[in-house]
Amino acid sequence: MGLIECKEVCKSFGEKVALDHVSIDIPEGRIFGLLGPNGAGKTTLIRIINRITIPNSGEVLFKGVPITQRDVEKIGYMPEERGLYRKMKVGEQAMYLAQLKGMSARDARTGLKEWFVRFGIQDWWDKKVEELSKGMAQKLQFITTVVHKPSLLILDEPFSGFDPVNADIIRKEILRLRDEGATIVLSTHNMESVEELCDEIALINKSRLVITGGVEHIRREYGNNNVELVYTDADGRHTEVLPREVDGNSTLEAYIAKGVTINSYKELMPRMNDIFIKLVTGEDAK
């Protein structure tokens, strides 16, 4: 049983169908990638989990029971279209958002100070938000999303707006939060970070769920998996890509018999990027 289970969720806006019987299971304590091209229905699904939007049919279970408004306090959401009150002071703003998530003023202050110290931004407290650079504002936004220790963290394109150094800081924080037990839903177009961070994914295309499951499993299952053989003979070093279907042992024996030195023999995992394109367009990326 996952922390969040979506069961046959449907949502349409007028004529337009945004989600068509989507069922996904987000396991507890994992990083779950929510993938799909623009307009596929990811944001709608996230908003339904957040109770911003109410589905036409189907249901969302939180720890096995239908989700309620109170459970929203246990969710931290950083939307793709995010922002802060520009004229408000950093500290006041963070306190406000934390209190809206049900924290007491005292807990909010302690929690925020901790995070401010962790990110080395203690002296921002009395600055106005409009004085912050985009990257600084993103850091503050991340803090306001996680300060109430949510058991579910939904991050929509969390790395956009960050330079590589800060993106790495956020990446490490996400992993740390996962290790501390939080469940994280990551919606992103950055397939490298999916490969690196996600344990499981769901791919939505044209309002429907295309595939869901473990990243390793999907990478093996989909795409034209090949093996790569590197060997050295009298002419020097060679790399050969062979179809996986061939029997590894006999291939190697054949090469060894030729008197070459085997350097490496490994399975080539398809990149998530290629799987994404293949599943969405129905064509091979290469």
């Binding site: 806006f13 007028g14 908003r47 957040n50 911003i52 109410i54 408004q69 929203v72 306090e73 969710i75 959401y77 950083m78 939307p79 279209e81 995010r82 922002g83 802060l84 009150y85 520009r86 004229k87 408000m88 406000y96 958002l97 209190q99 809206l100 998530k101 936004q141 306001t144 999303t145």
Partner: protein
């Protein structure tokens, strides 16, 4: 609805607005301005006495001169022997402020064609004074020309001198002095205040909604609280801002007028001749300091009547009804303004969407200005029942006395309309705040309303 969350939203909205410079400026500047204008005007009226003007008169008709009596501010000098043109050119050299030149009598039309020349404009009082005297001279000349015996006496007897005293009578038969003028002023002021407040704070709600949408903080907010909580938190927070401002205005105006009044009183004593003042108050000069100057008002008959009239107006009742109508009028318009704000991404796009709201507001304002002339006319009556104009018009009618059932019906309709509009606005708002990238029209708003 979660009251705790709404409380947090109200608090932020309220503090955020109250701490703004623009709020502080309007709150403190407006009463100072109003008080300044009032006191300044009074001070000017009390202290400035028109300098005496000397007018040279060349009367060729021979009928006007006897009517030109000197007053405190005008002195007439008979220069009939001289040439008008030569005086005209040397007015200031001769020490005259003006020249009244009256050519020979027009015996056919039985009138004169006078001209008044001056180097500087002479002011309304003076010209109307001269005009009155000329009229009188010509009138008398015409009467005399009929050659009817005793006509002078007849005309004097005919001349009417009626002063209308108006009273309102309540059921016990008690008479109260009533004066339409005082009611009109109160009615107009109340109408303007309620129009101003509803417009000002209604659009403040709208800009607050737009701000959240524009800065994209709104999606973060609605992931924590329900959109209805957010909307009503905002509306209530700004209502409290309005009440705070209103209260501060009343307090500050009172303080300023009190303080300034005190200063003026001292000034008056300084300037006045103690002996004369003491005589007029019936005390000896050394007792002056002990005189309570508020009693002075009582000695002045007009002032006493005005005060009496104010007492005859049920101020407490008016304030309560004013607050109730203001509150629901504001709530009605603020919820609609919130719905409009949710549909746009920047303030410039609101122009067109706002029209259905600003038109009834303006209409209410115009009818309210009319209502103080004819508080019981049918247009004023119906406008004070129609919920989109009733807050303004009913308040404007109030000082003239409105039957209780009319107030009850009007208020009932207003509250009912508010409930319906707030429900619809909340639905529109919910969809609107998450709509980006497209300019919305009333058609879209209608679609959103039906959508969920």
């Amino acid at each position: 609805m979660n009251l705790k969350t709404i409380g947090i939203i109200i608090r932020r909205e309220y503090l955020n607005k109250v701490k703004k410079k623009s709020f502080l400026i309007t709150t403190f500047l407006v009463p100072i301005l109003v008080a300044g204008l009032t006191i300044g005007g009074m001070a000017v009226m009390m202290t400035t006495k028109e300098k005496t003007k000397t007018i040279a008169v060349v009367d060729r008709s021979g009928i006007v001169l006897p009517y030109l009596e000197d007053t405190e501010t005008i002195k007439y000098v008979d220069c009939s022997g001289q040439e008008a043109d030569s005086i005209k050119l040397r007015l200031s050299n001769l020490g005259y402020d003006g020249l009244l030149s009256i050519p020979a009598l027009d015996t056919v039309a039985k009138t004169v064609n006078p001209d008044l020349f001056s180097t500087k404009p002479l002011g309304m009082d003076l010209t109307s004074n001269i005009n009155n005297r000329l009229d009188k001279a010509v009138e008398d000349y015409r009467i005399a020309s009929y050659d009817i015996e005793g006509l002078d006496e007849i005309m004097k007897a005919v001349k009417s001198d009626v002063k209308l005293h108006s009273y309102t009578v309540d059921e016990s038969g008690k008479e109260k002095i009533s004066e339409a003028g005082v009611y009109s002023i109160i009615s107009m002021v109340l109408g303007i205040i309620i129009f101003m407040f509803v417009t000002m704070f209604g659009s403040m709600v709208m800009s607050a909604v737009i701000e959240e949408k524009q800065s994209r903080v709104v999606e973060v907010l609605v992931s924590s609280v329900k959109s209805t909580e957010l909307m009503f938190g905002k509306i209530i927070g700004i209502a409290l801002v309005a009440l705070t401002q209103f209260l501060l205005w009343i307090l500050l105006s009172g303080v300023i007028i009190g303080v300034a009044g005190g200063i003026m009183k001292d000034k008056l004593i300084e300037q006045a001749d103690p002996a004369e003042l003491a005589q007029s108050l019936g005390v000896s000069p050394d007792q002056l300091d002990t005189v309570d100057f508020t009693q002075l008002a009582g000695t002045d008959n007009d002032m006493a009547m005005a005060l009496d009239m104010f007492h005859s107006i049920p101020i407490g009742k008016i304030i309560i009804i004013f607050l109730v109508f203001f509150l629901f009028g504001y709530l009605l318009y603020a919820s609609l303004f919130a719905a409009i704000g949710s549909a746009v991404e920047n303030a410039e796009d609101t122009q067109q969407l706002q029209i259905p709201l600003t038109v009834p507001l303006m209409l209410g304002y115009i009818i309210a200005l009319y209502a103080f002339k004819a508080p019981d006319s049918s247009i004023a009556f119906w406008a004070s029942m129609f919920p989109f104009t009733s807050p303004i018009v009913m308040i404007a009618r109030l000082p003239f006395g409105v039957p209780g059932w009319e107030i009850a019906v009007s208020l009932g309709l207003l509250i009912l309309t508010f409930v319906v509009c707030a429900w619809a606005s909340a639905k529109i708002y919910k969809v609107g705040i998450l709509m980006f990238g497209k300019k919305s029209s009333w058609k879209d708003l209608w679609k959103w309303l039906k959508q969920n």
